[in-house]
Symmetry: C2
Subunit: 275 residues, 2 copies
């Protein structure tokens, strides 16, 4: 576990291994918290160099199977470029799991051809109401590639990707922009006013490369802040409007969001366990 | 005057012509408020079609010399694409003045080769403390092309452009993105947390086309909302950091912002009055 953005709460670091031990009594997964998860530098879990080094320590180490992002917050974009050119072969064989701000790294890794990148719960989610279920879902994906925690529309035939709207917006037009041609793109948001959700969807759906997606699905938009005056449309009406204007097929709602019910969305086609 | 985003306050519509009359007693400029300025549709001064029509009414009319944006808020991106393909020859001979959300239209017009597009005060600014000075500055630019209200570093030799950070960020990678090669780019912000200013400047300075600017200047960042925890850098340290990382020359502070002191920044080279 590494924290490329904000630092992990100590309570989460206690509860996650305990839960893992109870879920897998015969073969408890070894969860290693890089000390950087608890570092502090202003807004961040350590300065940019510290976070970059920690990510590389775990990603490039043969002995780990997964890089699990501790939490979001803000900061991945400050270290993404520095890490991408220093990843080695062992990094390519790993699972990467996270969402929200970690979407910056998921995008960069997926763009670089990494095959087991997924949107899904992080350790800090255990502090949410019902958060144990979220962490259980993340562990089941990392340990067993269990399909039970997948977003229900994820299939073996259509490529998928999932992002927080703001995070995707803020990498459009940069070297980190993912190539999402023919993907079902799922988007969620938290803590933004309705006019900002509208502006974000204008931005995303007006991008020529994004317009090549197979379609868009809307996850949950939670803790929407007050709009003064009332915006006049809700988030689904907004999403449908921008799909219509951009020619991107509207594919309905997705079971993702900043909450305990947040499901797993592999980038590309899901690498499921072979039964 | 038209309002491509939010609607104009009635008080501003009364005070602006009165001020103009007192400033130019011999030859008072005729200020025509399109009725759309006072229309209301949810967040906006009329629905998207109403705002687009109003803009075209004024821009394409031979008898007007300028299109002055009434105020910002949010909404220009919802009507910009619809108006750009319907502008006629009279529209090219006009001055366009505004900032904040109107930056979306300034960008689109400038990209389309319009030569008298400028960042500067709007009618609604008269409601600010000291706002009469802002409106006086705007009128002096529109009526006389007076150089007194220009941002002090604007010259006849270096091309300039000015934007609100969020507004520029949200058109990057879209067909409205302005071509700013070899321009001095001035950026200001209002009402955002420090981590968002950092993320916006990551986004803007990571864009390959934006990296071709001659340099960046930082305007005022006002009403910065609390950052939890403290971000650890102020807005100038952040701007210097992203300039260093991106190779964009840091050119210091600019005299622009969401306030009564906001100066005029012509897009490209200033078309000054010939003495």
């Amino acid at each position: 576990m590494v924290a490329p953005a904000s630092r992990l709460a100590a309570e989460a670091a206690e509860r996650v291994p305990a839960l893992a031990g109870s879920l897998y009594p015969e073969r408890p997964p070894e969860i290693v918290f890089h000390p950087q998860c608890f570092a502090s530098h202003g807004h961040f879990a350590g300065d940019d160099e510290t976070r970059a080094h920690a990510f590389l320590d775990i990603a490039n180490d043969e002995s780990f199977d997964a890089v699990w992002f501790a939490r979001g917050g803000y900061g991945s974009c400050r270290m993404a470029e520095a890490v991408m050119c220093r990843l080695t072969q062992p990094a390519r064989r790993k699972v990467y799991l996270g969402y929200s701000d970690a979407g910056v790294l998921l995008a960069a890794l997926y763009r670089a051809g990494f095959e087991a990148v997924a949107h899904g719960p992080m350790a800090q989610d255990i502090l949410r109401d019902g958060g144990s279920a979220a962490v259980e879902r993340a562990l089941a994906w990392m340990v067993d590639r269990s399909p039970e925690g997948l977003e229900p529309t994820v299939s073996r035939v259509a490529k998928t990707a999932a992002f927080n709207m703001t995070v995707l917006s803020q990498i459009l037009g940069t070297p980190l922009q993912p190539v999402l041609d023919a993907h079902v793109l799922m988007l969620e948001e938290v803590g933004e006013a309705m006019y900002r959700i509208d502006r974000l969807l204008f931005h995303i759906t007006s991008n020529a490369e994004i317009r090549r997606v197979a379609g868009m699905m809307l996850g949950r938009c939670s803790r929407i802040t007050p709009n003064e005056p009332d915006f006049g449309m809700n988030e689904e009406e907004i999403a449908r409007c921008w799909c219509r204007r951009s020619g991107i097929p509207w594919l309905g709602r997705a079971d993702i969001g900043h909450d305990a019910d947040n499901k797993i969305v592999p980038f590309g086609l899901p690498l499921l366990r072979t039964v």
